[in-house]
């Protein structure tokens, strides 16, 4: 799935690229400071769930930032991208003022560029492999911001490039789920000429992009626009359809589906199983964010409003915890606190999310862990007991192991607690297919290169395989699965033709 080095070399030697490189000396490129993404002021944005924090780069900013890229002979940034975006190519298109071609380049390998430009942890992926970081120890080219810029520009221009697809081959394939893994798979399969249907259990397409990520990070309108592009490519979407319940896999096979991509995600919340966790006012982050993001339960008109709190604690240190605590602020919390058992350095959340959270007034209690909850006479949580933690020797993960400091407990007043300590895979699909090999944790066991399950016509990716992963990793899975399902179905088809 990676880009052929000869292709990279050939494209790099295109006349316009050479001219662009000659226009500005490398030392002048290096002298440019990395762009700062304009942001909505914290005191404004903290009152609005649906106002995006990052405002996007202007054309001038994007152009200047793109000129920092030195169009390396050996672009290691591409190796850092799970979907192998041709990064130097799209960045140089931006520098050259050809934004629409930049967007087309993104779409060669990325079905959801506007999404990835907003939610990818670029600092751990492409940007961490940038020449600036690896060799010069300076801030990388802002690849993520540029990706978002190109995708947004194309959308706003009204001239959206719809990637080309091969002629239909008449073979039906289906996805179970409509999150990033499934959409990425669908986007590649339709390009190969397949008749693709995306089945989604909920009433909205997008999976975690819609129910999990708040609008102040990823507006639903952006997701809908990307999905509409996929629809224009010929992908069909069916909502309110639970594969394994509304219809079985056998039913779908009888309807002619020959290949399945399982991208049903990991929507089962995990809790810490500590005393008092059953009290009212203690929610999983899944429930909290789904109610707000998908059900509009933060609205005054909602029939099933989400619980609000003045004094909110969120347990966890990942992006989901950041999303939850920042949502709580926007819903009127006077105090919103992250409680995390390791230190800030070990937090899995994107650096930008932590920065934004702090700017908005979120408090961080690190090296602390809840041990018990208490409630008022109505059963509503009103206090939590927290113990201080130390960090011991690195554990098997390489991170320092959190150790309880005995006798260090203290109490905090809270009236809402969101538990964001991770998720588990959706058990429905494995339960519907007894022949499917499943790990101890409920994740599907796949060939890691092909993403093929123990049932040859079933492929899988995203959280249902990984347990929990980023959007871009899920998309990478989808792409790999598409490549190998295509090879599998081609082999099957040739085999059938041979026997006729």
């Amino acid at each position: 799935m990676s880009i052929d080095p000869e292709t990279i070399k050939k494209e790099r030697s295109a006349g316009w690229r050479e001219a662009l490189r000659a226009k500005t000396k490398n030392k002048d490129r290096i002298a440019i400071e990395r762009v700062h993404m304009p942001e909505l002021e914290p005191e404004i944005r903290v009152h609005h769930q649906d106002r995006e924090v990052n405002r996007g780069l202007t054309l001038a900013q994007a152009s200047l930032e793109a000129s920092r890229c030195m169009d390396c002979v050996n672009p290691t940034c591409i190796e850092g991208c799970p979907v192998s975006i041709n990064i130097p190519k799209f960045v140089k298109y931006i520098e050259n003022g050809d934004i629409l071609n930049a967007a087309s380049t993104l779409k060669e390998t990325n079905a959801l560029p506007a999404v990835c430009g907003r939610v990818c942890p670029q600092e751990k992926q492409c940007e961490s492999r940038c020449f600036y970081v690896e060799k010069l120890h300076k801030p990388s080219v802002a690849i993520g911001h540029l990706e978002r810029f190109a995708a947004d520009f194309e959308r706003d221009s009204g001239n959206c490039n719809i990637p080309e697809t091969l002629p239909p081959n008449g073979i039906k394939v289906a996805t179970v789920g409509s999150g990033p893994a499934a959409l990425s798979f669908a986007g590649d399969m339709v390009k190969y000429g397949y008749d693709v249907t995306v089945f989604e259990a909920l009433h909205e397409i997008g999976g975690v992009l819609k129910y999990g990520i708040p609008e102040f990070r990823l507006p639903n309108a952006i997701v809908d626009f990307e999905i509409e592009n996929l629809r224009k490519m010929g992908i069909k979407f069916v909502t309110n359809f639970i594969v394994g319940r509304t219809a079985s896999f056998d039913d779908l096979k009888e309807e002619g589906f020959q290949g399945f991509f399982i991208g049903s995600g990991a929507g089962l919340p995990r809790f810490m199983e500590i005393p008092g966790e059953n009290y009212n006012g203690i929610l999983s982050s899944n429930e909290y964010l789904t109610r707000v993001n998908l059900m509009g339960a933060n609205s005054d008109e909602s029939d099933t409003p989400v619980l609000r709190g003045k004094n909110v604690a969120v347990i966890g240190g990942g992006n989901t915890a950041m999303d939850s605590v920042r949502t709580a602020l926007r819903l009127g919390a006077e105090k919103a606190t992250i409680i995390y058992r390791r230190s800030e350095v070990e937090m899995p959340a994107r650096v930008e999310e932590v920065k934004h959270a702090k700017e908005e007034g979120v408090e961080f209690m690190t090296l602390c862990n809840p041990v018990e909850y208490f409630a008022d006479k109505n059963g509503r949580v009103n206090r939590m007991r927290v113990v201080r933690m130390g960090l011991g020797e690195p554990d098997a993960s390489g991170r320092r192991r959190p150790i309880v400091l005995e006798g260090s407990e203290f109490d905090l007043h809270v009236d809402l607690v969101i538990v964001a300590v991770g998720v588990s895979p959706n058990p429905l699909v494995p339960a519907s297919l007894p022949g499917l090999k499943v790990s101890r944790w409920g994740t599907l066991i796949v060939d890691e290169d092909k993403m093929q399950t123990s049932l040859p016509e079933m492929f899988a990716g995203g959280d249902i395989v990984r347990g929990g992963a980023t959007v871009i990793l899920a998309m990478g899975d989808g792409r790999r699965a598409a490549e190998h399902m295509h090879a599998f179905l081609e082999t099957e088809r040739r085999g059938d033709e041979g026997t006729k």
Partner: protein, 330 residues
């Protein structure tokens, strides 16, 4: 008619004073059924060890691949593994209770105190008849003072006993500066039973390879003398039942320990060496001995040779020491 081997331990009715102690043999229902069939009075399930859970976490991480990709998923992964282990243990308790008629005693190894007290409640809810706390606090942490170590024992006991209504016993080591006082104080802390003693890992050295290795894990026949001494000394000085553990390799040793004052004896190494049939053999031999001695019940002879409450153990020990070594004059 009550069986002559009947005894009461921690308020539980046992048909025999022989208990299958906590070990790898007591971690599945098939074995537990065989143990019951062989005539054991109760079983202590394999202990849940915090360190074992950690090792499993390390092993699972290796299977998952690079941490960086899944950092958010893996951040509390150890908690999930722990919960999975604990759930399996609760399932074992429930299955054991459904399959057996004899009491089922759950066992947990406690390193930190606050994490286990809540789990104790779940153990009770799963149906365990009693809970044995294997207080495995090594006396080799140089950062802790003696009193810090000892205080941890009482803190653990306090937290756990406040959470459950089933009887709680503790299994302790002999490594205290005043073991007698410690046994006495622990017995008054609200527990119903005390098991003397647990076994720590023992190192040995291979002089050929010049490496440190593990000493044999099973007890030796002579190991019973330590619990014998302390049970004999403390049986009339404690507020709970005493159970003997380690070094019980023949039925005579079991009788000795009961004469010294033990309510029950726990068998582990013997079961590895001779299988579960050893329980049945012991029951038969003990019953025969009782008949010979005209004892109608265990209570008729239990504690008969315990040190009386009026004797000061320290003085008794000094006198015995002098007497014993004076016999070794040339």
């Amino acid at each position: 008619m009550m069986n002559e081997l009947y005894t009461k331990y921690m308020g539980l009715d046992l048909r025999s004073p022989l208990i299958a102690g906590s070990c790898n043999l007591t971690d599945n229902v098939a074995n537990l059924k065989e143990i019951e069939k062989a005539g054991a009075g109760a079983v202590v399930l394999k202990s849940v060890f915090e360190e074992e859970i950690y090792l499993e976490y390390a092993s699972e991480l290796k299977k998952l691949g690079p941490m960086e990709d899944n950092l958010e998923f893996l951040d509390y992964y150890d908690v999930e593994i722990r919960q999975d282990n604990l759930k399996r243990y609760l399932d074992l308790i429930a299955s054991a209770k459904a399959a057996l008629h004899i009491p089922v005693i759950a066992s947990i190894n406690c390193v930190t105190s606050q994490e286990w007290s809540f789990f104790a409640r779940k153990i009770e809810a799963a149906g365990a008849d009693a809970l044995e706390l294997n207080l495995f606090i090594l006396p080799s942490d140089l950062r802790q003072s003696s009193s810090d170590n000892e205080n941890t024992y009482f803190e653990i006991i306090r937290r756990v006993t406040s959470q459950v209504t089933i009887p709680v016993s503790v299994k302790i080591s002999p490594y205290f500066s005043n073991l007698g006082r410690m046994i006495s104080d622990i017995s008054a802390s609200g527990i119903k039973g005390m098991v003397l003693f647990n076994r720590f890992y023992s190192p040995d050295i291979d002089i050929d390879q010049e490496i440190v290795k593990s000493a044999p894990k099973l007890s030796s026949p002579g190991d019973y003398r330590l619990p014998l001494r302390w049970i004999g000394m403390m049986a009339s000085r404690v507020e709970c039942d005493l159970a003997a553990s380690t070094g019980i390799h023949d039925w005579e040793t079991a009788v000795k320990l009961m004469l010294a004052g033990a309510k029950t004896v726990q068998l582990v190494s013997l079961l590895y060496k001779e299988g579960f049939k050893a329980i049945s053999n012991f029951n038969t031999r003990i019953a025969t001995w009782m008949e010979t001695k005209q004892y109608a019940s265990i209570d008729d002879f239990r504690g008969k040779l315990a040190m009386g409450p009026q004797v000061n153990p320290a003085e008794y020990e000094r006198v015995q020491f002098m007497k014993t070594f004076s016999e070794y004059t040339r």
